[in-house]
């Protein structure tokens, strides 16, 4: 009897990500969410294949490990995108400081 339900699994995965990221949750892209959904479906399919004897326990373990690694790859992309967003914000602030100082002084100091 299959134990995994995609809706429950996806809900748990998204709640875990949300709980961990808290205020940064809003920044998780739609691509990451849809990727997690597809990976949840893969886990359900792996369970089905194991139960109907299409794959062995050993193969199932390898395939599940691949899903875990892929979740990490997706989250690393989100981390990279987050760093780029912060970087852009910092450089925007530096740009404003530069413009403000130059305007206040009346000539290009910075």
């Amino acid at each position: 009897m299959p134990q995994l339900n995609i809706e429950d699994l996806l809900k748990k995965m998204l709640e875990a990500a949300k709980g961990s990221l808290t205020k940064d949750w809003q920044k998780i892209s739609g691509v990451a969410t849809s990727s997690l959904k597809a990976l949840a479906q893969n886990l359900v399919d792996i369970e089905e294949m194991k139960l109907d004897g299409t794959i062995t326990q050993e193969k199932a373990a390898l395939m599940i490990d691949m899903q875990k690694n892929t979740i990490k790859i997706v989250m690393l992309t989100e981390k990279g995108l987050g760093l780029l967003a912060v970087e852009a914000a910092i450089n925007a602030v530096i740009g404003v400081v530069k413009d403000t100082v130059n305007t206040a002084i009346g000539w290009t100091l910075l």
């Binding site: 691509v31 990451a32 990727s35 597809a38 990976l39 479906q41 893969n42 399919d45 792996i46 089905e48 294949m49 299409t54 794959i55 062995t56 050993e58 193969k59 390898l62 395939m63 490990d65 691949m66 899903q67 690694n69 892929t70 990490k72 790859i73 997706v74 690393l76 992309t77 981390k79 990279g80 995108l81 760093l83 780029l84 912060v86 970087e87 852009a88 910092i90 450089n91 530096i94 400081v97 530069k98 100082v101 100091l109 910075l110």
Partner: protein, 154 residues
């Protein structure tokens, strides 16, 4: 006294402006610059993996139990592993590229798992579908980050 006050005012002005000069002269980078070599290498590995998957899919559809076996793909896996080894070295050499290097290591682990599973034999259509989905998501995420690293202004 007046001279001292002027001197102090000058130093104060310098103390205020110096950090601003320093800030404005530096462009902050929290993650490494875009590297075309890395981007192209990731896409090359993705094509190589897709080639294996498409061949397996075709063999299974045609009921070809001979050509689906691992021994027909040993050279393909070897080429992928060589490309990934080169990618590991390349991403390790680029400053602030740990995120990308970690992704490469995880993808390498996935290729090794895929290879082990293939060696076990009895590959089914449903299994291939799962591998395809897994690799599409993984490579998709990596390429998404590579595109973002171009830092193209919208």
């Amino acid at each position: 006294m007046e001279r001292l006050q002027l001197k102090l005012r000058g130093r104060l002005l310098l103390a205020l402006i110096a950090p601003l000069i320093l800030m404005a002269s530096c462009k902050v980078m929290l993650i490494g610059a875009y590297d075309q070599g890395t981007d192209m290498a990731i896409q090359k590995v993705q094509t190589e993996v897709s080639t294996i998957l498409v061949k397996l899919e075709t063999c299974i559809e045609n009921g070809d139990t001979t050509n689906v076996t691992y021994k027909n793909f040993t050279k393909s896996y070897e080429e992928i592993k060589v490309d990934l080894e080169c990618l590991k070295v390349r991403t390790g050499a680029i400053p602030k590229y740990k995120v990308v290097q970690d992704q490469v290591n995880l993808m390498y682990a996935n290729i090794l798992n895929f290879e082990k599973a293939h060696k076990m034999g009895n590959t089914s259509a449903k299994e291939i579908k799962t591998y395809k989905s897994t690799f599409e998501i993984g490579f998709g995420a990596m390429i998404q980050l590579q595109n973002a690293l171009k830092r193209e202004k919208k």
